[in-house]
Point group: C3
Chain length 153, copies 3
């Protein structure tokens, strides 16, 4: 079975450098065999790439791109924490916050941008539990924010 | 002391069949002695039963019914994961997302619909920590979504 | 290195008495070496001190005061659960819900009111992972709600 790092290479995905915490906290912490990852925003080169609200400024497809970028930042933090994606035993849980208009109802489809990435990279070990919800606003005006709990091999 | 399964029977509660994940994730995962349950919506026979926003379309009582139905789906996922409610050692934490108008302030009362159910079924072991918050919208337009972390006996 | 209790005294901070759960749940639970703390509101003497929405009724500085007060209530629950702050091994994670207007984007700065307090009191052990998000409303009309997962020494 190909390793997660191998899949990442095969897919030709670019993992961004880990974003420092935007404030008085840390981007990840290891406790026992759990790796906790702080809420990741869809940043690119230090700037927010996907701003605005789903249903107002962005459609579901654009939201999925934002969620996928948040997912790539989760991969980035995993590599910063563990050195390699291959030390991941399981993606336990992701929580996805989607800035949205009151009548937007496809938060689950938006989050698939990140969930599908986890499955592409980690295969069966990437299958995770999840909650997806629509928030009124996010830090910096981001469209999506995703946090994760990872099990370390 | 009566078992959780016994209480369920005595109360004559109908536990719905487990809802498959609506997207690229799984409804539950077991890691060590923890059972993680994805956000559950108030579904009935595969359709959303409680849509809309608290304070706009639903009052607190209707919201409690929605939360209780989410709670029944949590019971359903527990049974799917463990075979029986009697393998639950504790309900550690539930997080409840309530779609609400900006001036609605009874999210905690809405969530009691699920919290009270946990106490009815699990007794002291059903006493859990909790966060309740008002979100702008939820997947499919649901009124309430609840996720849970369970400790396995 | 000064203990957390010592720092608390040196800083002359007042830790409020633990607030009972506002509904059918408990304010904290211990499982193994983890202490789970329910969402804490900015209460003072049994009344909500900081109501309203960031960007509408409160500015970022006022929100930070609200977050700091939520943080003091987290300290209060830790003391209720463990008897002393000195049994804290780490603040693993806080999740901060900020009631906000759709165009408010400084949720991360608001949450620093609580994050900075954790660092003041626990030093390096207070460095935590975090998610900060803007919700449409909170129980009782609170401006901020914060929940936490703590590792016990």
């Amino acid at each position: 079975m190909p390793s997660a790092e191998h899949r990442l290479q095969t897919l030709g995905l670019h993992v961004p450098p880990p974003t420092p915490a935007a404030a008085s906290y840390v981007p990840y912490l290891i406790h026992g065999d759990h790796l906790y990852i702080s809420g990741q925003l869809p940043m690119e080169n230090g700037l927010l790439k996907h701003a605005g609200r789903l249903g107002d400024d962005l459609d579901t497809f654009a939201g999925q791109q934002a969620a996928r970028l948040c997912g790539l930042h989760i991969l980035s933090q995993i590599k910063a924490a563990l050195g390699t994606l291959d030390k991941v035993s399981a993606i336990i849980k992701i929580t996805g916050y989607v800035a949205s208009a009151p009548d937007f109802h496809e938060h689950h489809k938006v989050l698939n941008g990140a969930s599908d990435l986890m499955m592409e990279i980690f295969g069966e070990q990437g299958r995770h539990t999840r909650a997806a919800l629509g928030v009124v606003a996010l830090p910096l005006g981001a469209a999506v924010e995703i946090e994760a709990i990872i099990k370390i091999a």
